[in-house]
Symmetry: C2
Subunit: 546 residues, 2 copies
C-alpha cells in the first residue's frame, strides 16, 4: 500500500502541473475539465488509502453515530410512540383486524417493477453469496406477496401492520424525512360487495385520527375512474393519462397556472385540453358535487366516469350510515402518486398539516427555494406544515402481479384490496411538539421504596418483592446506604406518584409510611403511617384514584 | 451470452472426458478430485447462465417466497407472539424499565470486532455510495453504542428492547434457527452497589419465565471471576483461559471425556491440569457449594476467585430477599460463549428444553449424527429439546469500547451493565406446540352483527357504528344479501362470542336479538329479544362475564 501511495503522490504532482499549465495557456474549459477530473480522482484514491491507514493505527478512532438518515428513539420518544401505536391498534382491533408480520428484507425481484422511478431508493443487501435481497420499501408490496403466497387460506383478511420501512432518500431530519421510518398500514383484502370495505376503511381512519387527538382534520376523497373519465372526455391521449394525473396531484402545493404549465410545456398537452381539465379539478364539495357531476351528460357517457360516480353514490350512502360524511371533502384535484390505485383514493390533512391558503394564481415565493444554481428546488415542506397525515385507496390488481398469469394472460389469483397508511412519523412530530420532554413519564413505576436514616437494603428488597408479588410496579435505589434527598429526587425525575418509606423505628413497630410524592402539601409531612398488613391494600386504593 | 454458453458446453464435454479417462485409469483420488472440481465449476456457471436466460424470457416467472432463513408470521402466530411480548413487557415495566429503539442497521465499524469468529455472519448492506452499513447482529452492541453516545444523559438506565436481529447463519427451520429472529433484552446500566441490579435481573427473569407458563425451569448460575480463578489455580496458561473456558461451556451437551479431549488434544492442555479442572466443573449446588468453595484455601487465595466468591455471597443474600434462591443452580460448568462477560453469568433451562440426562462418561449415540463423510456432525438439537430459554450476565467493559480512551489508555466513559436475553423464538415454539392453530383467536371481535332474511345492509352498518361508538369490538359481513349460515360460520371460524341479530320484524318493533354463539344450548333458540335501547348495556354486561 505504501508503494501505491507513492505512485499516487507522484501522479498527483504530474497531473496538477498539467492542469496548471493548461489553465495558464487559457485552454478551453472542455479541455481543462477532463484533466481536472482525473486529478480529483487521484486525490480521492489517496485520501481513501490514508483513511484506511489511519483507522488501522488508531483502533478506537471511529465516528460514534447512527447511520445516515436513521436515529435512536430514547425512552421519552418511545413513550409517545407506544401511545400512538396503542391508540391506533385499539381502533384497528375494534374493527376485527388481525396483524401479520413479514421479514424486513425480501427477494430483490419481489420489489422490482413496483415503484417506478423510486426504485432507485431501494436498499440492497450486499451480495455475500446466495439470494439477492433488498430491504422493504413499504408494507403494501410484502402484504400483496403474502396474499399471493397464501391466497388459498387468506381469501379475505382485515390486517394491520406497523413496522419500519427503508428508503435511500436524501434525509431531511428537520422535515421528518428519514431513511428508516415507521409505516402503519391497515388493509382489507377480499372480494366483497362494492364499497362496503371502502366505507369501513374511511370510518376506521376517522376514528383513529379522532382518537389521536390531532385537532380538526379533513379527508380528501376522489375516485381514479372519475379522474380517468375526466381526462378521457377532455381529450387527454391514453398514453398521457398517468403523467397528466401526476401533474394534477401537485395542485395541493402549486397554483393551477404552474400545473397547467407542466401539462402543456413539459407534457405537451393542448392548452385547450388543459383548460377543460382545469374546470373539473377545481371542483370540490360533498354529495352536492356528486349530484352536479351526474348532471354532466358528457361525463356520464364515459364508462370509467359512470362507474366511478356509481361507486361514489354507494359510498356516500355508507358514509352516512357510519356518520363520517361531514369529515369528507370530495375533491377532484386529488390524484395520488402511486400507479396501482384502481378505485377510490383519499388523503387526510389536519389543520396543522394543511398547506397555507393559496392566492389565486400567484405563486407564494416563500414556498419555493432557489438552490445555488438558481434552479427551483423542491418545495420547502417546513413552511407548508407536515403535509398529509394519512392516505390510501383501492388497489385491485397488485396481488395478481405476483400470482403469474394463465393462458389468457389473466392473473391466476385476484384478491382486490383497499387500504390506508397512517403517517405515524408525522403524528409523533405533532405530539412531541405538544409537550416538554421532561414532562413525559417513560417508565410505569407507581411506588418507590425508600429508607430513612439506615441502609435497610434487605428490608427494602423484601418490601419491593412483596409489592411485585401483588402486581404493584415498584423500584428502590440500588445503594447500600441511600440518601433521603437522592431517593426523593428519583421520584421527582421519574414522575413516581407514591413512596413507601421505612425506618428502623417503623420496622420495629410493624409500620410503614405512605407518601404522595406529587403533592407539595406540607401538612402530609412524612406521609401517613399504616401497618405493614394494610400496605398493599392502601397502595392499591391510592393507585386506583390516580 | 450465447457464445459463452457454447464455450462452456464444449469445455464441459472436454473436461468430463478427462475425468472419465482418469477414473478409468484408476488414478489417485488426489489427481481426480481437482479435475472433477473444475467440471463442477463449469456446470455451475452454465446453470447460472441458463437461469438468467429463463428469467429474462418469462417475466412473471419468479419464485414466490420469502428470503432464505426468513418467514412470514400469520395472524395466529402473531397472536401468540403478541401474548408472549405483552407478558414479558408487563414484567419489565413492573420493575421500572423503559424501552429505547435503535436502527435496524448500524455503521459497519460499530459492529466490527465485537463478535469474534461470528463476525462472518453479519449481513452487510450493498455499497450504493455513502457509508458502509450492516444489519444489527444483536441488541447488546447497539445498546452499548447508544450509552456511549448518550452517556451524559443516561448514566443509568433500566431498559428493555424487543426487536429483530440478523445472522447469515445456515438456517435450520426445524430447529427454529432463522436468519431473521427476535431478541428480547433487558439490561440495567449504571454504577451501583455490588450485586443489587444483578439480583433484580435474576428476579425479573424468574418472574417472566413463571408468567410465560413454560413449566418448571432452573437458572444455572456461575461467575466469570470464579471460573478464571479455577483455571488459574489449576495451572491453565493465561493465553489459554478463554479457549479452555469455551471447552467447558460444552459440558451441557458433551460428556466430560469429550471436553477433556478438546482441552488436551486440540488445545494442548496438560492432562493433569485438565483433570484438576474436571474436579471443579462437575460441582453444582446452592449456597452449600459456595460454603464448600470458601473452605478451599488454594482457591480463596486467588484474587479473581476471592472476588467472585464474595459477589456470590452477596447475591445469595439478595436472592433470599427476593425469594428466588430455590430456582437457582450454582453450576461451575456454566461458562457462556461470549467474551465480554466480566461477572455473574446465567442461563435458564426449562424441563422441556433441558438435554437428556447423560450417562457417566458414555456418549449417548442418539445425540450425535454422523455426516456422510463419517465425521461427527454438530449436535442434533431436535433430540435435546430446544436448548436454553434465556441467558445473560454482567458486562462492565463493553460501553468503554465505544467511548475512546484517555492518555492512560483507560476508556473515557465506563458504564457497567448487567442484562438478560430471553429466547422468545424458543418460547413461541413451545407455546405454539401447545395448541391447535385453529383454536387460536387472532382477532378481538366480540360481537357479529347479523341480519336474517333481508339484506338490511344500511341497518347493519348503523348498528355496528353504534357498537363502535360504545367501544364494542364489532364486525358485519361485507355482503348486500348475506346468508344466515355464512354469517354463523364466520362467528365459528373467528371465535366471535356474541351475535346481534336483526330482521325486518324486529326492526319494526324496535327490538334486536342477542345470541351466545359459543353455546350449543338449543334452548336459547334465536337468542334473547331485547329493545334496541338496552342493547349496548346488555352486550357490555355479557362481555364482562366472558
Amino acid at each position: 500500500m505504501a508503494d501505491r501511495k507513492e505512485e499516487l503522490t507522484q501522479a498527483i504532482e504530474v497531473q496538477a502541473a498539467k492542469v496548471r499549465q493548461l489553465k495558464a495557456e487559457g485552454a478551453e474549459k472542455t479541455v481543462v475539465e477532463p484533466e481536472a477530473a482525473i486529478l480529483r480522482t487521484l486525490h480521492q484514491e489517496l485520501a481513501g488509502l490514508e483513511g484506511v491507514k489511519k483507522t488501522k493505527t488508531a483502533k478506537n478512532s471511529f465516528t460514534l453515530k447512527t447511520a445516515k438518515g436513521t436515529k435512536d428513539y430514547n425512552d421519552k420518544e418511545m413513550a409517545i410512540r407506544e401511545k400512538v401505536f396503542s391508540t391506533i391498534t385499539k381502533v384497528f382491533k375494534k374493527h376485527g383486524a388481525v396483524t401479520i408480520d413479514t421479514p424486513v428484507f425480501e427477494l430483490k425481484e419481489i420489489l422490482s417493477g413496483k415503484y417506478g422511478e423510486d426504485s432507485k431508493l431501494i436498499y440492497d443487501l450486499a451480495d455475500q453469496g446466495g439470494e439477492e435481497c433488498s430491504l422493504r420499501y413499504d408494507l403494501t408490496v410484502p402484504f400483496a406477496r403474502f396474499l399471493a403466497m397464501n391466497g388459498k387460506e387468506y381469501q379475505n383478511l382485515k390486517r394491520y401492520h406497523i413496522a419500519k420501512v427503508y428508503r435511500r432518500d436524501q434525509p431531511a431530519m428537520t422535515k421528518g424525512r428519514m431513511r428508516e421510518f415507521y409505516q402503519c398500514d391497515f388493509d382489507i383484502a377480499g372480494s366483497y360487495d362494492p364499497m362496503i370495505p371502502d366505507a369501513e376503511i374511511l370510518r376506521i381512519l376517522c376514528e383513529a385520527l379522532t382518537n389521536l387527538d390531532l385537532g380538526k382534520f379533513t379527508v380528501k376523497l376522489n375516485h381514479r375512474k372519475i379522474l380517468d373519465g375526466i381526462f378521457q372526455v377532455c381529450g387527454v391521449p391514453e398514453a398521457n393519462i398517468r403523467p397528466i394525473s401526476s401533474a394534477v396531484d401537485k395542485l395541493d402545493k402549486l397554483p393551477w397556472e404552474d400545473v397547467k404549465k407542466e401539462m402543456t410545456q413539459e407534457k405537451g398537452l393542448d392548452a385547450e385540453v388543459a383548460d377543460k381539465i382545469g374546470e373539473y379539478v377545481k371542483l370540490k364539495g360533498s354529495r352536492d358535487l356528486l349530484e352536479k357531476l351526474l348532471q354532466d351528460e358528457v361525463l356520464t357517457k364515459n364508462k370509467n366516469a359512470a362507474e366511478g360516480l356509481a361507486d361514489m353514490g354507494l359510498l356516500f350512502d355508507f358514509m352516512d350510515a357510519f356518520e363520517i360524511t361531514h369529515l369528507m371533502s370530495f375533491d377532484l384535484s386529488l390524484a395520488r402518486g402511486l400507479d396501482y390505485y384502481t378505485g377510490i383514493i383519499y388523503e387526510a390533512v389536519t389543520e396543522k398539516s394543511a398547506p397555507p391558503p393559496k392566492q389565486d394564481g400567484v405563486v407564494d415565493d416563500k414556498k419555493k427555494k432557489k438552490n445555488k444554481n438558481g434552479e427551483e428546488d423542491e418545495l420547502d415542506e417546513s413552511t407548508v406544515g407536515v403535509g398529509s397525515i394519512a392516505a390510501g385507496g383501492r388497489y385491485d390488481n397488485l396481488v395478481g402481479m405476483f400470482s403469474g398469469t394463465n393462458k389468457k394472460g389473466e392473473p391466476n389469483l385476484k384478491i382486490p384490496c383497499v387500504g390506508v397508511s397512517i403517517g405515524v412519523e408525522r403524528v409523533f412530530s405533532i405530539l412531541m411538539a405538544k409537550q416538554q420532554s421532561a414532562d413525559i413519564k417513560s417508565n410505569e413505576t407507581e411506588v418507590y421504596v425508600i429508607s430513612v436514616g439506615d441502609s435497610l437494603l434487605k428490608e427494602r428488597m423484601q418490601l419491593a418483592k412483596e409489592l411485585w408479588d401483588n402486581d404493584i410496579k415498584a423500584s428502590f435505589m440500588f445503594k447500600t446506604k441511600p440518601k433521603l434527598d437522592k431517593q426523593f429526587a428519583v421520584c421527582e425525575k421519574d414522575h413516581i406518584p407514591l413512596a413507601v418509606i421505612i425506618g428502623t423505628d417503623e420496622l420495629e413497630k410493624g409500620l410503614v409510611r405512605i407518601k404522595d410524592m406529587r403533592s407539595k402539601d406540607e401538612s402530609q409531612g412524612g406521609g401517613i403511617s399504616i401497618t405493614r398488613d394494610e400496605m398493599v391494600a392502601t397502595l392499591k386504593s391510592k393507585l386506583a384514584q390516580l
